[in-house]
Amino acid sequence: MQSSLAFGSEENVLSLMEKRRKVSLIWQVVFLLATSLAILFLVLLLFSIIDSTFGYAALAYEVEPSSLVEGRQHLSEFSRLQLEETARSRLSSGILRRVEYEKPIADRSDKDLTALLEQYVVKPSVLRTWGLWESLTNQDEIEMYLQEQDQAVLTFKNWLTFDFLFADQSANPLYAGIRTALLGSLWIILITFLFAFPIGVGSAIYLQEYAKPNRLSRLLQLNIFNLSAVPSIIYGLLGLAVFVRAMEGLTSGSVFSTTVDTTANGRTILSGGLTLGLLVLPIIIINTQEALKAVPDSLRMSSYCIGATKWQTTWGQVLPVSIDRILTGTILALSRALGETAPLVVIGASTFISVDPSGIFSKFTTLPIQIYQWSARPQGAYRNVAGAAIIALMILLMILNSSAIIIRDRLSKKKRMEA
């Protein structure tokens, strides 16, 4: 019984067991701490975004609502008749003519009239805003501020409204919206997908299914991995040199003489989409290769053994079982492109445009650029607008990512049956 002697006496075994249990417990606590920290930071991030999206705002009116109708502090307290009368009497004649021409005042809704009066008569401006936390906990300071500024009106503002999503840019944070940026982002993603998906999946299929594993293909493989790690701003410089400058005729649409606006000079949706396409191309290739690698070779073998060609095997057997992973990888790559800012800033995306992009040769801005630009403005209220835009961007990203998960689950049902 040499071996049991080597483990020591029963007492030794028990005391060692105690130590082993302790070490194991310590590690468990370490991992738990790591997880808790990660969750804490996520909660903080979420809190700071929500904090800036909701909260009190002190507004100053150029014309007090009470001076329009006696005893009414707020436009929302106006009756229908008062709204119509005020609109007819207080709107400047030019605006009134245009408004009546578009839709007679009598036919307009209360909400519509209120918005008109607010924008052209009352003309509110933001004096100061408070975050959600301050609004709830620091009422005294807000009261004091209001007493100092006697014309200020306090209102609880939700910056992420339906109007916010569909309004265009504005110099007044109260009316600024993300429609232009949202459309720009969607256009860019469309071009990125159309460019990077066929090329990426095509090269992955070639590298994985066709290329012989020689030195050249190993070199290619290594470089694809390196490319996926290149900082995105470098892709911006590449896009600037190639798409914006060298291929300006093509990317501005002038060779097709379909230039949408002459000021774009190649800094168009096409250039932006192609640049981001280059950025995600290595990621899509690698993801697709991983998906193809996961297909067991026995499937290919059995397909060859009934006389299928390489292409028939790839198209009829390999792709159907790997398409879920390929699509998931592509969507995740696209959601990375959706969040990219630096390369688009480098290629010269507009930061302030109020014209919606109308095609691939339009100037554009995207959500992350818009957020960056807003948060750099001196007026505090733009930070609240930026917070609302961040939530919109995050929701868009979440929709993309969860659609990736749904696709994976739907398409891999067959595979789960195997298990």
């Binding site: 594993p213 067991p296 026995s298 499937l299 290919r300 073998m301 059995s302 397909s303 060859y304 053994c305 009934i306 006389g307 299928a308 060609t309 028939q312 009829g316 057997q317 159907p320 079982v321 067959k414 595979k415 049956m417 195997e418």
Partner: protein, 276 residues
């Protein structure tokens, strides 16, 4: 259903199918040497494989019997660094000459693997897909039924043809793989230990099936199970491995002859279970 009609159908759809004459040499190996990179896997294998017979390859692990089997439909081409010297003649044509397309060879010489590997599709599609990629123009429903009947699987699956093939039992999956192979009407079926992953009952069903299939096909089967070789095969090739781990053909005879009166001492030792 009229089976003669179907047979004619198949013949016109696959015009390459030749009418068989018994005990003709269909495959001839001439001094075949196979290497994986620098490793000499099989040396100087020469043998004739006869049409409409079952030929069994037996031998200890690493003797190269599966390697030889895979060289017959050029599946070794898919293994990196595999090279072959010598000649493999199929109907007197060299399978390894430059102008031969391996896809055509694999369409004529089908293969069933050790682990059942049906396509992750419906049972119906498992049969129909191979015919479709080979340009079959006949009635697919009929083809599926005949193939499944030939593989003794029809009665078990006829009510669930749309069901995913991966839900069948291991033995059923293997018979489906055989059905899928015969659906494209090959001349030769190679089987690489087709029953070694199956239980005894499924194994005996596969063995019965092999005996039925040899009416229409030439079958070459690699097996570890000597009882199986003696039950199903007409000819048996015994492969051995030398001190350099290179496999070679020790003895090749009619099965009865080889099992009852082995000429070589190694053969006798192996079949009597002295090593293996």
């Amino acid at each position: 259903m009229n089976t003669t009609n179907l047979a004619e159908n198949l013949l016109t759809a696959f015009p390459t199918q030749s009418i068989a004459e018994p005990a003709r040499t269909i495959i001839r190996l001439q001094d075949v040497n196979i290497r994986y990179g620098t490793f000499h896997a099989v040396k100087d294998a020469s043998m004739d494989i006869y049409e409409h017979k079952v030929t069994a390859f037996i031998g200890p692990s690493g003797c190269g019997k599966s390697t030889v089997l895979r060289s017959i439909n050029r599946m070794n081409d898919l293994i990196r660094g595999a090279t072959l010297e010598g000649k493999v003649l199929f109907n007197n044509e060299d399978l390894y000459s430059k102008d031969v397309d391996p896809v055509l060879i694999r369409r004529r010489i089908g293969m069933v693997f050790q682990k059942p590997n049906p396509f992750p599709k419906s049972i119906y599609e498992n049969i129909a897909w191979g015919a479709r990629v080979n340009g079959y123009k006949g009635d697919y429903d009929e083809l599926v039924e005949t193939s499944l009947r030939s593989a003794a699987l029809w009665d078990e699956v006829k009510d669930k043809l749309k069901q995913n093939a991966l839900r069948l039992s291991g033995g059923q999956q293997q018979r489906l793989c055989i059905a899928r192979t015969i659906a494209v009407q090959p001349q030769v079926i190679l089987m690489d230990e087709p029953a070694s992953a199956l239980d005894p009952i499924a194994t005996s069903r596969i063995e019965e099936l092999i005996l039925e299939l040899k009416q229409a096909y030439t079958i070459v089967i690699v097996t570890h199970n000597m009882g199986q070789a003696s039950r199903v095969s007409d000819y048996t090739a015994f492969f051995m491995v030398d001190a350099n781990r290179t496999g070679y053909l020790e003895e090749y005879e009619q099965t009865e002859q080889l099992f009852l009166n082995p000429v070589h001492k190694k053969t006798e030792e192996y079949i009597s279970g002295k090593f293996g």
